[in-house]
């Protein structure tokens, strides 16, 4: 009896630890530079003497979206909702757990190490913190030029001119070449980070909270720069930020993440005109408006985000949701298309027949 129950427990645990990897494979459409399908990234929790895996942190739990060429997608959510992990997993900076990432129609995770290296210049990332993402021991020309040389973007005799060119495009002066990161202010460092990413002629750039660490006026400069560069080099951005007003300014499409799920996704205009998911609504109402006369109907979300290691059953948002129904506590909602291109994952819209 005891033997059996032990085995049962073991089986149950095993079941829990298996990461489901079932999705309908995508058909590539050349309109999109990036297609993400049911992408999952679980981090194992190890415990005990033998460091057995006892559970998973479900950082990204099955997200799907597509980004058109030359557009910007904004990814918003509270800290810990998995937006940064999503960005990194898409670039294969960490390995995925399940799902599909198609970049220019090819699965990023099918590349061998060598092939991946060859494709790397096309997809770049700008990190959040310009203070810790620049090597303090390298001069600026090396920080920007190291990868250019490695990938042989330009012939050796044109190297210097090329670096100067990139620096000028990003608002840096040529005499900054020989300086070290500590000699620059926050805004300038972020320009260096942008220059480093752009030096490789990428098609797609993940911007991981590029303006969060900066002052308001510098923030405006960097946002303007990013938008100018997008026009100039026909870039596609995945813009990760927790600041909704910045995301609204820069994005064409917006995805809202909560606890590893993409709860709402659609064009910017649609989402701001008609936010559907209760979480999106609450998020929007929480933005402070710089107008003392404005009366906003604040929807306050109670409590804080549950642990992604043990997310609530059913809809993950039900513990904090104001329009929580009985059904939300048990049944996992599925993605519904409410308007063309406007998706939501919420039981409130179950009866809604697609437009």
């Amino acid at each position: 009896m005891t033997e059996k129950s032990k085995r049962q427990i073991a089986a149950e645990t095993k079941e829990r630890l298996v990461i489901e990897d079932n999705y309908i494979p995508l058909v590539h459409d050349d309109k999109y530079i990036l297609e993400v399908n049911a992408l999952k990234k679980y981090f194992p929790i190890k415990d005990g003497l033998l460091q057995r895996v006892t559970g998973h942190i479900k950082a990204v739990d099955g997200i799907s979206f597509k980004i058109e060429r030359g557009t910007t997608m904004g990814l918003v959510g509270e800290s810990g909702c998995g937006k940064t992990t999503a960005g990194r997993t898409i670039l294969r900076l960490t390995e995925k757990s399940a799902g599909q990432v198609l970049f220019n129609g090819k699965e990023v995770y099918d590349y061998t190490k060598k092939e991946l290296q060859a494709i790397r210049p096309q997809m770049q990332i700008i990190f959040q913190d310009p203070f810790s993402s620049l090597s303090p021991r390298l001069p600026i020309r090396e920080i920007i030029g190291e990868a250019v040389r490695e990938h042989e973007i330009v012939p050796r005799n044109e190297f210097n001119d090329y670096i100067n060119d990139i620096m000028e495009n990003c608002g840096l002066q040529p005499y900054h070449r020989d300086r070290y990161p500590h000699e620059f202010s926050g805004g300038q460092r972020q320009r260096i980070c942008i220059a480093r990413a752009l030096a490789l002629n990428p098609d797609f750039v993940v911007c991981d909270e590029p303006v969060s660490a900066l002052d308001v006026s510098v923030q405006a400069q960097i946002i303007n720069l990013l938008m100018d560069l997008q026009d100039k080099f026909k870039l596609t951005y995945l813009f990760i930020s927790h600041d909704l007003s910045v995301v609204e300014h820069i994005s064409d499409t917006i995805g809202v993440m909560y606890l590893g799920d993409l709860v709402e996704f659609g064009r910017k205009e649609d989402i701001f005109r008609m936010p559907l998911h209760p979480y999106t609504k609450a998020l929007f109402s929480a933005i402070p408006v710089p107008d003392p006369t404005a009366k906003i109907n604040r929807i306050l979300i109670e409590g804080s985000m549950p642990s992604p290691a043990n997310p609530p059953k059913g809809c993950k948002f039900h513990t904090r949701c104001q329009s929580c129904m009985e059904m939300c506590k048990t049944v996992v909602p599925v993605q519904k298309e409410i308007e063309p291109g406007h998706y939501v994952v919420c039981h409130l819209y179950n009866d809604y027949e697609g437009a």
């Binding site: 509270e78 308001v216 405006a220 946002i223 300014h249 701001f272 710089p290 306050l300």
Partner: protein
């Protein structure tokens, strides 16, 4: 700070940034001489009360900053972090202080607490009048010893980074208890106070300990922590960012302070948590009837919370007024720029406005409007001395040559 100057004028910047060893040595020796004098003043014992008590100019104010100068004597020169700041905090009101990093907003509040890094940082000139009820302190002259009675008890502070300002090795309960034990002694521990033991030696009796705990739990409930009994026994690392900030607020209000200084209380938090925390602060302000000095760089937070706004730039107040005045018709070009630079929901702009140039080097500030070199509305008069404060209305004033006193009179 040093690199701020890079873009302004390349060659000049490198020259003036360079200090030979001898020069540097000379500066530090001179600094030592000056700061030693200040320290002597600060450390005196048995200072007569008449020396640091004063009178409020307006009895409706809890704090009056009057021409405050706080300087830092660094090895590369004197940094005038706060250079002639004047504003008032009325009773029961919220005053928001806005500005970019390095504009001196935090140093202003630290001066009020006398927590500026000593001996380099010193209040050089000016008065900070604080109405403590029975007497009015001039904080600038108050000796350190006397400050222990004011800090935490009458003025308390909520810091930006709740993780670094809570002690990781003590439980939440212990940390809040300590504040109450140290400051609200008269509430719980009369016999000990009668014995006039020094504050740090007091060991509260069992009954008073229970009362202190009850007070702590009450405070935790007040800031919206549902399971206060459980949180009382937790360590800071077990709490989320929003919960930690609540604990910080509970700690700040534990002694019913007259003034709460909130130094970027929500900058490290998410929008949804930020909304919760701001809600709590608003409610509490009315409940315990205190004033709030809210320091932030987020204009949205100020608009929602504050009654008065003070805009600071490079250590000086460039504009102040009621929240309606400043947001409806901002006068100073810097305020206007700051508002235009922020992307807003439902604010359709192709390009964000960005203020050209950078904050000037705080060492050797020029004797003209500090914003002159970045200003797009610069006129001939701007080459003159630093502009005087000009009143646009009884409550709204601005330091800019674009405006004249007559305009107000005509209105």
């Amino acid at each position: 700070m040093k690199d701020e100057k890079i873009d302004v004028n390349e060659t000049k910047a490198t020259d003036s940034n360079y200090l030979s060893a001898r020069e540097s040595h000379k500066i530090s020796r001179e600094n030592r001489r000056i700061t030693d004098q200040f320290e002597k003043q600060n450390k005196r014992k048995n200072v007569p009360e008449s020396e640091y008590t004063t009178k409020m100019k307006n009895p409706a104010n809890v704090v009056e900053f009057d021409n405050l100068h706080t300087y830092f004597y660094t090895d590369v020169g004197v940094v005038k972090a706060v250079d002639g700041v004047t504003f008032d905090v009325p009773f029961g009101k919220t005053v928001g202080i806005v500005g970019e990093s390095g504009c001196g907003k935090s140093v202003t509040s630290l001066s009020l607490m006398k927590l500026v890094q000593r001996p380099q940082g010193q209040i050089v000139e000016g008065e900070i009048r604080f109405d403590a009820g029975d007497k009015v302190y001039d904080i600038a002259k108050t000796p350190i010893e006397e400050m222990y009675n004011i800090r935490g008890n009458m003025i308390s502070m909520i810091f930006q980074e709740p993780m670094t300002s809570l002690n990781p090795v003590f439980k939440i309960g212990t940390q809040i208890d300590e504040v109450i034990t140290l400051h609200s002694l008269d509430l719980f521990h009369e016999e000990m106070k009668a014995a006039e033991k020094s504050v740090s030696n007091v060991k509260p009796s069992k009954e008073s300990k229970l009362m202190i705990k009850a007070r702590t739990l009450e405070m935790l409930d007040l800031v919206g922590i549902a399971d206060s009994e459980k949180v009382y026994r937790m360590y800071p690392h077990e709490l989320s960012g929003g919960m930690r900030q609540r604990v910080m607020i509970a700690m700040a209000i534990a002694c019913n302070p007259k003034l709460i200084i909130a130094d970027e209380p929500t900058t490290a938090l998410d929008v949804t948590i930020q909304a919760q925390i701001l809600e709590i602060l608003m409610e509490l302000k009315d409940k315990i009837n205190s004033s709030i000095m809210l320091i932030t760089h987020d204009l949205g937070v100020i608009a929602g919370m504050a009654d008065y706004v003070v805009v600071m730039y490079a250590g000086r107040v460039v504009e102040k007024g009621t929240v309606f005045e400043v947001f409806k018709d901002p006068a100073h070009p810097y305020t206007i720029g700051l508002m235009a630079a922020r992307p807003g929901i439902n604010k359709e702009v192709e390009r964000l406005y960005s203020i050209p140039g950078k904050v000037p080097n705080p060492i050797d500030m020029p004797n003209y409007c500090y914003f002159r070199d970045r200003c797009e509305k610069r006129i001939a008069a701007c080459d003159g001395e630093y502009p005087m404060e000009i009143k646009l209305s009884p409550t709204h004033s601005v330091a800019c040559y674009l405006y004249t006193e007559e305009e107000y009179r005509n209105d």
